[in-house]
């Protein structure tokens, strides 16, 4: 969710998913899930470290984890190592929050902020960038298939 007039340095994306917080947490932190919806990247997120490997095994992300509170909140650094141009920008931050709801439907909020020093990254991930990822995550959890 973002305005169309400018790329914001704090971006918020939200989606409701028919899945438990535990299932969503696994899908965010384990590579066998992320490769099916996150541009083919294999993410491994532990209390200490965020690692993202591209489909060819190259390092796409290698960042600190700021908060690791399964299955409710995860916050980690973000640099786009897959692109030389974006890689040169400053690190930003991505925070995932999962709220359980009625009928087994959870509410997922992703906040990508601290983008002041990364305008090209901000433009790259905005709008359909993050919503492409979250749409795929929802489809995978609800249907078992990739989007």
């Amino acid at each position: 969710m973002t305005t169309i007039t400018e790329v914001q340095t704090t971006q918020i994306y939200q989606v409701f998913i028919k899945a438990t917080p535990e299932q969503i947490w696994d899908a965010i932190t384990k590579p066998e899930f992320t490769e099916r919806y996150f541009h083919g990247a294999r993410h491994t997120i532990t209390p200490d470290h965020y690692s993202s490997l591209g489909p060819d095994g190259s390092v796409w992300g290698d960042e600190d984890v700021f908060e690791f509170d399964p299955p409710r909140k995860l916050s980690h650094g973000w640099r786009s190592l897959y692109s030389d141009e974006l890689d040169a920008e400053e690190a930003s931050r991505v925070t995932w929050e999962i709220e359980p709801g009625d009928d087994g439907v959870s509410f997922l909020t992703v906040v990508h902020d601290r983008l002041e020093g990364a305008p090209k990254t901000a433009a790259k991930v905005s709008g359909s960038g993050w919503m492409g990822v979250l749409s795929g995550l929802k489809t995978l959890l609800e249907t078992g298939e990739s989007l």
Partner: protein, 148 residues
């Protein structure tokens, strides 16, 4: 969107594994809307958008159609007539755009704007408000079942 007040132009996007025609039908036909739009039956034609009351006895009024271009673009007025406080505010505008993509996945963009005269409506629909609707629409089209 970090501001405390809701924005007067709100943009929501979602990728859906469905054809533009299937999404168009789900947006404009009451049989579909009642399964994801807070249980409300909404019939949209080239002339008007009619929101039926829950008990079927009356309507929450008609909103005008500004653009009708199936299955790509629909723009209509918005007036929250089911709530007296919101109903007292000025009407706003909702525009749906559907872009076909590869592998049968379409990108749906909803823009709710012209909300300058409707701050309470803007707050009511923002964030989880619209995303509940769009999340339910996606679930219904991809699984055949309502979200919750």
């Amino acid at each position: 969107m970090a501001t405390a007040t809701a924005q007067t132009t709100q943009v929501y996007r979602l990728y859906i594994k469905a054809t533009p025609e299937a999404i168009w039908e789900a947006i404009t036909t009451a049989e579909f809307t009642e399964r994801y739009f807070y249980g409300v039956r909404i019939d949209t034609t080239a002339e008007s958008r009619v929101t039926h009351a829950y008990d079927g006895s009356d309507t929450y009024g008609e909103d005008p159609i500004f653009e009708w271009d199936p299955p790509r673009k629909l723009s209509h007025g918005w007036h929250s007539k089911w709530n007296p406080e919101l109903s007292a505010e000025e009407p706003s505008r909702v525009t749906w755009e559907i872009e076909p993509g590869e592998d049968g996945v379409s990108l749906l963009t909803v823009v709710h704007d012209q909300l300058e005269g409707a701050p309470k409506t803007a707050a009511s629909v923002s964030g989880p408000g619209w995303m509940r609707v769009l999340s339910g629409l996606k679930t219904l089209l991809e699984t055949g079942e309502p979200l919750g």
